[in-house]
Amino acid sequence: MITVKYFATLRSLAGKDEDQFSMGSETTLVNLSHEISKTIPKIGEMILGKKVMVSVNLNVISLDAIIKDGDEIAILPPFSGGI
């Protein structure tokens, strides 16, 4: 299973903290985005439109990155830490 975490405004949009997806032994971020779009179209669009960053196991990745079973994905809206 792939765990997908939603933060800040995206958690409000998703209505939950995280999702679990079964995508076989490996897939791409593009394919995962399409899967997310089935239930939360706006978030899928934001990933594919590069409006948000995505991390795999705490490292930021690009759209063509490979995602493996057991990975932790986080969908990261623009940061606003500091002041």
Binding site: F7, S12, S55, F79, S80, G81, G82
Partner: protein, 145 residues
């Protein structure tokens, strides 16, 4: 609650004491001759709206990892001796401390540069998000100067 990679990188709910942190960084080396601090605090006015409360959320582990990378890069690239970075999360009232960066070195010049670079890098790379409460409701801030 406080999550830590090392004692110089902290993300915590509780307030911090700036004087205590300055004293702590002095212990890093007897060669320290200059210390610069950047302290970010909760301000009341944002984009013309009165803010009554702030709330910060982070991505645990990744946020600490990014702050640790910023500290190490600041030490390496600016030649400073030590850096402390603390960011608070959870509910924060107007006027309260939010973020502290302390840079220490032999001389002043590199501490100013390292401090300025570190807060900009924190805002650019660290998964921390701010929610502002105004009279019209709550909003997640998505762009900060």
């Amino acid at each position: 609650m406080s999550t830590t990679i090392d004692s110089n990188i902290r993300i915590q709910q509780e307030n911090f004491n700036v004087t205590d942190e300055i004293e702590a960084i002095k212990n890093a080396s007897k060669n320290i001759g200059g210390i610069t601090t950047f302290l970010g605090t909760g301000r009341e006015l944002s984009k013309g709206e009165n803010i009554s409360k702030l709330n910060f959320e982070h991505y645990p582990k990744m946020a600490e990892k990014k702050l640790a990378e910023i500290r190490l890069q600041a030490i390496k690239e600016y030649g400073i001796i030590e850096m402390i970075i603390i960011h608070r999360i959870g509910e924060i009232d107007i006027g309260e401390n939010i973020v502290l960066i302390v840079a220490a070195s032999e001389h002043r010049k590199e501490t100013f540069k390292a401090c300025e670079w570190a807060i900009a890098e924190l805002k650019r790379t660290t998964p921390i998000w701010k929610r502002e409460t105004t009279s019209t409701g709550e909003v997640w801030v998505q762009d900060t100067p």
